[in-house]
């Protein structure tokens, strides 16, 4: 922390897969601080329903972590499905998020889970992962961990079969008062992830109508979600299908539509 305060302009290096690419794109930092060997940043814990994942946890470690497998097994499965074998061993959670590349998948996965980025040594203690593409928050210091609140989480799933055109991560959470909130995050190769949300007056997941909720969520995609690979109409259709598919899995209702 002292080093980052001394050199606020420093580039922080972890797994470096993305950083090497940035060097090739012209990045020439005067100061580079490698945090690769700080063991504390590799810790994963689950206490009182708060899953805490250190920023240096690699994709391979995250997908096999007993704490994640026992609390949100679908997160472990989703995490293990991204990238290639080489990058899974080298790439870190923090690097994947802070690279802020549209095509990277952890922002999509974690935004749906309502994950919070925890920082140290800067002016901000925490920010939601979904804020990654908001205007620059200023000096945040070092990303130490990502936290996920698990008690209200009823279901999580990730659909990447249509990548790079569209990926969708989806959660169903129980609201504190009443009802369920379905959150879907839509990612793609050329556009930032978009967060879509629907609150349903339901007491159980099985009461959700996959086709209806899927349509409601897809309709929220803004026009700018259309890109080189597909018009906004096509992307809304595609996201609707993927949301419906995930919700069908969540509800155990494998019918394509809501009508028997």
């Amino acid at each position: 922390m002292a080093l980052t305060r001394q050199h606020p302009e420093a580039v922080i290096a972890a797994g470096c897969s993305d950083l090497v690419a940035q060097f090739r794109e012209g990045l020439e930092p005067e100061v580079l601080i490698s945090i690769q060997r700080i063991r504390e940043l590799r810790a994963i814990s689950n206490e009182d329903g708060l899953l805490r994942i250190g920023s240096l946890v690699s994709h391979a470690e995250g997908s096999r972590s007993p704490e994640i497998l026992s609390s949100v097994p679908a997160l472990a499965a989703a995490w293990g499905s991204i990238a290639t074998v080489r990058i899974r061993y080298r790439g870190t959670l923090g690097g994947n998020l802070l690279a802020r590349r549209y095509r990277y998948e952890m922002p999509v996965i974690l935004s749906a889970l309502g994950a919070q980025m925890q920082f140290q040594g800067g002016d901000i203690a925490a920010l939601p992962v979904s804020s990654l593409w908001d205007p620059d928050p200023g000096n945040v210091g070092i990303l130490t961990a990502v936290t996920i609140d698990t008690p209200s989480l009823l279901w999580f799933g990730y659909e990447r079969s249509m990548r790079p055109l569209s990926t969708v991560s989806l959660t169903v959470r129980k609201n504190p008062q009443a009802g369920l909130t379905v959150t879907a995050v839509c990612g793609s190769e050329y556009r930032q992830p978009f967060v879509l949300s629907h609150t349903a007056e339901a007491t159980a997941i099985t009461e959700l109508d996959p086709a209806f909720v899927g349509e409601v969520l897809a309709a929220q995609l803004p026009d700018e979600a259309g890109d080189y690979s597909g018009s906004i109409d096509y992307r809304r259709h595609l996201v609707g299908v993927l949301c419906r598919r995930l919700l069908a899995e969540a509800t155990g209702n494998q019918r394509k539509g809501s009508q028997p």
């Binding site: 470096c16 090497v20 090739r24 020439e28 005067e30 580079l32 290639t84 074998v85 080489r86 061993y89």
Partner: protein, 177 residues
Amino acid sequence: MSLESPESSQETFTHKVEFELNGSPERHSVPTSTTVLDLLRNSCSKQGVRASCERSVCGACTVLVDDLPVAACSTFAFDIDGARVETVEGLAAQDGTLSAQQQAFRECGGFQCGFCTSGMLMVTTALLRQNPQPDREEIRDWISSNTCRCTGYEMILESVERAAELAGAKQQDQAPE
């Protein structure tokens, strides 16, 4: 393309990097921006580590660092200080006897132009260390990390399966009675 910039006006900061390469100690002084690919090819004469996409995508530069496959093109040399690094040049025995992986790729025709072969062999080596008896799905997952533009992958799949057989037989031969 090396990341080192000899024309840079700034004073270059160098790191002392000591590591084990194919069982032998290596000691180098490198600028911060030196990649493992630069170091292995330019300073250690390991031309089997292919320079290709240089974006961590194709796998042609795959080497093992402490038994794990990494893209040499996207790993800084300062990060392998104290590590055990293996390249394709270290697979065969001192007398030239091919490793099980090399033997299998030769038997099954797991290569055509050969450019991706060293990376494929290193990925296979890492896989078989983690799981000596992988099924087709796991083999497919691992080798799909590497790009081959000739074989269509089928013969590479068969090569990895055969490598697992040969390595298993070799271990049985070496097992104490």
